[in-house]
Every structure is written in C-alpha cells, then in structure tokens.
C-alpha cells in the first residue's frame, strides 16, 4: 500500500470511529437502559467505541508502510 492510500484509509476510518460519539450516530447509544457491565448503555457505548478505536489504530499501525520512518 502506498503512503498516500494509507493516509486516505486512516482518515476515513478514524473519522467514522469518531462519529460514533457524535450525533446523529450517537442516537443509537443514547439510552439509559440496559445496564451493561454495571454501566448505563450510553456510558458503555462510548467506552466500547474507544476500545474499538484503540484496536483499529493498532491494526492500522501494523499495515502503515511508513512506520519505520525516523
């Protein structure tokens, strides 16, 4: 993958992940019930997407053609 197309992927994926905590998409998470792992659904939703974002960026890093750059 070229540096340029990696950059495009990175921007698209991170924007999509970020939009999960913004309205309108956050509407799906904007509920008090059910309580999951002791947390209200809205709280849980945000934490879930943060964890998914961590994993996604980790994977992106491994396919980054540019990661050895100093």
């Amino acid at each position: 993958m070229s540096v340029r197309s990696f950059r495009t992927y990175y921007i698209i994926i991170s924007t999509l992940l970020f939009s999960t905590v913004l309205f309108p998409i956050f509407t799906f998470g904007n509920k008090a019930y059910p309580l999951i792992l002791g947390l209200p659904y809205s709280f849980f939703w945000i934490i879930l997407w943060i964890v998914i974002t961590f994993i996604a960026v980790l994977i992106l890093y491994f396919i980054d053609p540019d990661k050895e750059e100093v």
Binding site: V21, G38, S42, F43, I47, T53, F54, Y61
Partner: protein, 510 residues
C-alpha cells in the same frame, strides 16, 4: 494529629518531592541551551512522550470538573471521555510532518511554524498574543483547581489565594530552571500518583456509597432515566451542544501550543505509538466520572457549593475518610493540576517570546531570548493567578472559553501543511474573523444558534474568510510553500550538507 494536619503534611511532602524531581531532571543537561529548554534537544523518547501527553488527560479539569459535571449534569459529562479518547487521532498524520518541517527549519513553536510559512510579522504577533491569552486562561483553570484542593483538603485552613500562590511558585521554579525535560520527568512521577489515587478513590467511593456500579446506576436511572441521556426532555444538554463541544475540543486539542510543540520534540515512531495508546489513557478518567455519579441523589447540590467541589466534598465531609487518604487525594489532584500547569506555562512563554518579543525586537541573542522566556514564565503565572483568584468562573467554563480561541489556529495550520493556494492575507483575516466571532458569542451574545459552541461558529467564519481572501489575493510563489506542502518523509542527509537547518524563521522575513 487532626485530619487536616495529616492531609496538609502529605500535600507539602508531595510538593517537595515534585520540586526535587523537577530540579534534578534539569541537572546534567545544558542549561544555557535554547534547544534543550524548548524541545529537550528533539530527543524525547516514547516513555517521556507518553507521560507528557498523558499528563494532559489528568488535569484540574478532569479531577474536579469531570466529577462535577457527572454530579450536576449527568450524561453530558461523557463528552470529556469522548473528546480525550479521540483528540489525538489527527496527530498520526500531521504530527510527523510538522516534526520534519520543524527539524528542517529549526522550529520550536506554533508561531515559528506559521511565521516561517507565511512570512508575516503581523501574523506572528497575532498568533503569539492569542496563544498567550488562551494559555493564561488554561493556566488559570489549573491554579483555581489547586487552590480549591488546598482549601478543602485542609478544611478551609489554607486560604484560596495562598494555596494557589504556593503551588504556582513551585511550577514556576522548575519550569524556569529545567525546561521541557524537567516538566516531563515530573509528569512521570505525577502521572503514576494520579492514576493510582483516582482509581482507588473512585472505586472506594462507589463501594462505600452504593456497593456496585450496577446498583448505583439502577438507582439513578430509576429516579430519572433522562439524566443518563443527552438531548431529550429533561436532559441538561442538547444534542447539538454535545456534538459541537466534542468537536471543538477535538479540533482544538492539537492546536494548544504545548501539544503542538510535542511534534518537534518527538520522532515519527514515538508520535504514532502515542496516538495508539491515547484512547486507553482516556479511559483512566472513568473512576473520576463514577465518583461524581455516586453523589447523584445522595448529596444535595446546594450543600456542596460549586459543582467542582464535589470530589473533595465527598472525601472530607460526606464520607469522613481518614486524613492520610485525603492528603493523598489532594496530592494527586495537585499533581494533575501541576503537570498541566508546567507544560502550558512552558509553551505560553515560548509562543509569547517568539511571536511578540522577537518580532518587535528582532536582534536578540539566544542568551537574551532564553532569559526573556524564563521571565515570561513568571509573568504568565502572575496573570493567571489574578484570573484564578479574582475571576469567578467554574473550571469547565474557563477551559471551554479558552478552547474557543485556540481552535482558530486550525485552518491556518492545516492549510500551511496541505494547501498551496492559501495566502498570508487569507490566514491572517481568517484568524481575526474567527477570533472576533468567537469573542462576540462568548462575551456579548446570550445564546448561540442551535446551542453550537461559540468557538465552532468562529471556526466556520474563519474558514470561509480564509478561503475567500486567499482566492482574492495573489498566490504565494515562494519556495517555502513547496517545502511545507510537498514535504517528503526521510529527507536523506546529503553528506556534510545537513548540519545546519536549511532556513530559519528569519530567512523569509522582511
């Protein structure tokens, strides 16, 4: 000994240790070096960078503001978690590029970055001033936080004004003497303390007051499910307000001079690895939110005074925990405030000296520059101290106000990196327009359209003006445009040709 005495003893002990760590870290490095003071010789490793960036997550704002919001407002407090987790993602792309440009032109500030690209003294002075005032506001939030902690943890024995003064004296001492590396090493010590204490205390508060989080949230949800939602009838924040406040914070986060300057002090791999870890760092504030929720429906809002004080209130008054424990919490909260205060002071002094002083008095030697930077540290502290003690806003409000100004640098910085057609006039008028619009909605207007954050409205005005004016003015044909926008990775050094930077901030001036 009484509780407050033990607690004060622990806080004083903490301050002494923090001071020693900071001063020790500054030893052995070249004290007179401008490069070392500003970017730690451009060689901060992953470990120190993690703690420097992580230190930004734990601040007076997360220690006092986050529980306060959870307590009085409920679900809107999630915005803090959301913005912290996502705020660093753009850095993966722009950080390494800014770093390379920084090395090429020997830059260490936001002002230097913009001024080298746009070659305008007026722009440098403008950016220097805006950064200076935004930083002072930010610093004031930290000082206010420290003063609240000192005051409440000693059961009112240390006056508000005196607490802020003591803590600030220490920050000024080690930033002025040690520079960036001192700040970084104190952050390591402070970071460890903050994380441990916030988790222990958060879990302890929930356990003592409710047993489990399930029980706690069941009670809150049963009483009022809308408290845990956003933008519904009876909720404390509208959907647009929630979305725009997250947007402003995420877009503004990297434009803070102390964040921006991290691109210079770390290499690309370190930057990328920091971005990866950052969402997890953000999760570290969860127990602080839980502590705030624990008080919902149990503690009467009017009994606390201001919402910022809920965490100290729970510990000292409501739960009557032992003195050593509130000493530790006090020390951790001080650590949180100070680790943010030190880097912001450091950056504010740099931006001010670079933007305002150097443009007005261009022929200063490195030695004099360094002296001015160190004096600026003291001045900035004094101004922030006045706002903290005499101004009357809450911690969250102060910080959000500052974000509105800082976010106005975003269009200029991004187009400096990626858009050749942008012109100096475009960026200058854009920043002025954005800043004025933001200020108008913050100070004079009572409401904003759809409850959008004033900073975001300013940003929209800023972008439109910048693009419009850029197309109306002549394109910039200088070679510096090329070397910013088309900057390639791995500019392999040509033998014997790479010891001095290609150009400096002065090359393109006049």
């Amino acid at each position: 000994m009484e509780h407050w005495q033990i607690s004060m003893l622990i806080m004083v002990l903490y301050l002494v240790i923090a001071l020693i760590v900071g001063v020790m870290a500054g030893r052995g490095t070249n004290k007179a070096s401008l490069e070392e003071f500003t970017t730690a010789g451009r060689g901060l490793g992953l470990f120190l960078t993690w703690f420097l960036m992580g230190g930004a997550i734990f601040s007076a704002f997360s220690f006092l503001g986050a529980p306060g919001w959870a307590f009085t407002r409920g679900a809107p407090a999630f915005y803090i978690l959301a913005y912290l987790a996502f705020s660093l993602l753009p850095w993966y792309i722009i950080g390494p590029k800014i770093g390379r440009i920084g090395r090429k032109f020997n830059l260490y500030s936001m002002v230097g970055f913009l001024q080298t690209r746009f070659r305008s003294k007026a722009l440098g002075i403008l950016v220097g001033f805006i950064a200076f005032f935004a930083c002072i506001q930010y610093l004031a939030t930290q000082l206010r936080g420290m003063a609240i902690i000192f005051n409440l943890m000693t059961e009112g024995r240390i006056a508000f004004w005196f607490g802020a003064l003591v803590a600030y004296a220490i920050v000024v001492t080690y930033v002025a003497t040690g520079g960036l590396r001192a700040a970084a090493w104190s952050d390591v010590f402070q970071g460890a303390l903050m994380i441990t204490v916030s988790w222990v205390i958060g879990i302890m508060i929930v356990k003592k007051m409710h047993g489990t989080t399930t029980e706690m949230f069941s009670k809150i949800a049963a009483a009022d499910p809308d408290f845990l939602r956003i933008g519904v009838e009876g909720s404390t924040m509208s959907t647009t307000a929630f979305t725009s406040v997250i947007l402003v914070s995420v877009i503004g986060f990297l434009m803070w001079p102390h964040m921006f300057a991290r691109s210079y002090s770390s290499n690309a791999v370190t930057i990328k690895k920091t971005v990866i870890a950052y969402p997890l760092f953000a999760l570290l504030i969860i127990p602080l939110l839980l502590a705030g929720f624990a008080a919902v429906g149990v503690v009467n809002v009017s009994a606390v005074g201001e919402s910022d004080q809920i965490l100290p209130y729970l510990i000292t008054t409501f739960l009557s925990l032992p003195g050593w424990l509130y000493g530790l919490v006090g020390a951790a909260a001080l650590a949180a405030a100070m680790s943010s205060a030190d880097v912001i002071t450091h950056s504010a002094s740099m931006e001010f000296t670079d933007g305002v002083i150097k443009n007005m008095f261009p022929n200063l030697s490195d030695k004099v520059t360094l002296l001015i930077m160190r004096s600026a540290v003291v001045l900035i502290g004094a101004l922030a101290y006045c706002i903290a003690v005499f101004g009357g806003q809450g911690v969250v409000a102060l910080l959000l106000g500052a974000y509105g100004s800082i976010i106005q640098f975003t269009p200029g910085v991004l187009s400096a990196l990626y858009w050749k057609r942008v012109t100096t006039q475009g960026v200058f008028t854009g920043i002025v327009a954005g800043f004025v619009v933001n200020l108008y909605f913050q100070l004079f207007a009572t409401t904003t359209p759809f409850e959008i954050h004033p900073g975001l409205i300013g940003l929209i005005a800023n972008t439109i003006v910048m693009i419009g004016v850029s197309y109306m003015t002549k394109p910039d044909t200088s070679s510096v445009v090329e070397s910013y926008v088309n900057d390639q990775k791995k500019t392999k050094p040509i033998k014997g040709n790479n010891t001095t930077p290609e150009a400096s901030i002065y090359t393109y001036q006049s």
